[in-house]
């Protein structure tokens, strides 16, 4: 077999330079993130962590604690449901304002054209602001106004998911068949009627199934929000973790996984019913 030997790799220089730059960036990032693999194997850390993990088995199954977990689970579900219901109150008007296919000024000269444009712009900025800040930060801020407990969590979900749903609603309404709504607007109907009779019939299923999907996300989020004191399973988990009580943490984790599965299942059923 005769091998063909290339005297040198024509792309060698470029490859070398790219590798150098990549390593330099990586090194910089590792400095910033205080990357220190050895910390994983430090004796003190290993001891604390191992002690904590050993306590995970067996999970704490005392009746009093289980009751507490069950209550927190129901609270989490209620937080997500109430949060999404309030989010709808924000999302529906915002979504209708920013939907282009319902814009009257777009199909012809309309009175107050500049005013409508400004309104749409402001609504977009508001939406960006609401969903740009993660729900847990809203929760952290709201806890300081409304005190520890589920109210802050509900409002945090309502704010973030309100912005998120508004954006997706308007996207759905713009990608659906927009001709009926346009025809209605051209005939002189109002925006609400054009939405109800022109857009909603075609888009209702997608809108509903996306809302249910978001509810499922809200269940997950409301667990996490408990870490800043906004009630539910998360708050319980935070307390147990601070006390390094592994048995309780593992019970709560199991409950959390079951809850996520349940939410998955419920959303599947509702979506099938709506189809």
């Amino acid at each position: 077999m005769n091998k063909v030997h290339h005297p040198r790799d024509p792309a060698a220089l470029k490859r070398f330079l790219v590798t150098c730059v990549a390593v330099a960036i990586l090194w910089q990032m590792m400095q910033l993130a205080q990357f220190d693999v050895l910390a994983l194997f430090e004796e003190r850390n290993l001891k604390v962590f191992a002690n904590f993990l050993v306590q995970f088995f067996p999970p704490n199954l005392q009746a009093t604690f289980l009751m507490l977990v069950l209550k927190a689970t129901i609270e989490t579900l209620a937080m997500a449901t109430a949060g999404i219901a309030l989010a709808l109150l924000i999302a529906v008007p915002l979504g209708l304002i920013i939907t282009y296919s319902l814009s009257i000024s777009r199909i012809g000269p309309a009175s107050g054209h500049q005013f409508a444009k400004l309104g749409r712009y402001l609504a977009r900025m508001l939406m960006l602001f609401l969903r740009g800040i993660p729900e847990i930060i809203w929760a952290l801020l709201l806890v300081r106004v409304f005190g520890l407990g589920p109210v802050a969590g509900v409002l945090a979900i309502a704010i973030t998911y309100g912005g998120m749903l508004a954006k997706v609603y308007s996207e759905i309404l713009e990608t659906e068949n927009t001709l009926p709504a346009r025809a209605l607007l051209l005939q002189g109907s109002g925006r609400i009627n054009a939405f109800l009779y022109g857009l909603l019939p075609g888009a209702s299923q997608e809108l509903a199934s996306y809302t249910v999907y978001r509810w499922e996300c809200a269940v997950r989020a409301s667990v996490v929000m408990g870490f800043v004191g906004a009630g539910g399973l998360g708050q319980l988990m935070d307390q147990s973790m601070k006390m390094l009580n592994g048995g309780e943490v593992s019970t709560i984790l199991i409950m959390f996984l079951l809850l996520v599965l349940l939410a998955d299942y419920i959303s599947l059923i509702i979506r099938r019913l709506l189809a």
Partner: protein, 264 residues
């Protein structure tokens, strides 16, 4: 000519809607939370006073520099975590796609599911215990969760990829690793890259809040300043987060549009 009723009466839909309404009312009742209470004069006043304390934001150069460093740290945490997760997922994808037999597949899938279903914040608390406070804990936490997600996606990509090229190499005498590197990887690489970039985008968002449990980045600064009731400083951090999140959103939207155009 047939006449169809405009809409059939749908008992099932009606019951579903009623049930949903019932659940919503029950939720508010369970939490004993009356949304109308938000609009009382006192509540509105509380909200306004509290919001007022965030203005004006602290824009002194010293603090801005601190926030800038936090922002870079957040980016570094998310990038490193995504990189670590992508490398780990590449190794886990082979067993997850069933290349090493059924038992390995089931075990790997279970592991990946577990990694994925524990939220990042919980991993972060655990990692803070394991390696101490700081951004390294955040990096590990994000990497663990992301491995769960990417491992599954990589595995599925590998499974859907036609095995003919790998098989040809195997039949020609190549080892498993060689067959994967030269048979499968070139075909699926761009897909894997786009999954990783997508996860990076989500991780940037996540890395901003991991600091709440002491895992570094912008979140840690925010939590610290809010604990000291420094609302003006906190508002600068929040603005930085907003800029980061919206910026990432815009860049990824733009890239996606470019990609769609190049695809035709």
């Amino acid at each position: 000519m047939n006449h169809y009723p405009a809409r059939k009466f749908c008992l099932k839909c009606l019951i579903t809607l009623l049930l949903i309404a019932l659940f919503i009312v029950a939720s508010f009742a369970y939490l004993s939370f009356n949304p109308l209470a938000l609009f009382t004069k006192q509540a509105m006043g509380d909200i306004a006073t509290y919001t007022g304390r965030f203005f004006p934001p602290d824009l002194t150069p010293a603090f801005l520099q601190k926030v800038w460093k936090g922002l870079l740290q957040t980016l570094a945490i998310s990038a490193l975590a995504t990189l670590l997760a992508a490398i780990a997922s590449l190794f886990l994808a082979l067993p997850a796609a069933g290349q090493f037999g059924y038992t390995a597949k089931v075990i790997t899938r279970f592991l990946l599911n577990f990694l994925r279903s524990v939220p990042e914040l919980v991993w972060a608390v655990l990692m803070v215990l394991a390696v101490g406070l700081g951004p390294f804990a955040g990096t590990l936490a994000l990497a663990l969760h992301t491995t769960g997600v990417l491992g599954r996606l990589f595995g599925e990509t590998l499974e859907n990829h036609s095995p003919s090229s790998t098989k040809a190499l195997r039949l020609a005498g190549a080892s498993y690793t060689q067959a994967f590197m030269y048979g499968a990887l070139p075909g699926i690489f761009s897909q894997l890259l786009s999954y990783s970039l997508y996860r990076w985008e989500m991780n940037i968002r996540m890395a901003t809040i991991l600091g709440f449990v002491g895992a570094g980045g912008l979140g840690q600064i925010l939590y610290y300043e809010l604990s000291l009731l420094h609302e003006q400083q906190a508002s600068t951090v929040i603005m930085a987060m907003l800029v980061l999140v919206i910026g990432v959103d815009m860049i990824s939207n733009k890239l996606r549009r470019v990609q769609m155009h190049s695809l035709g």
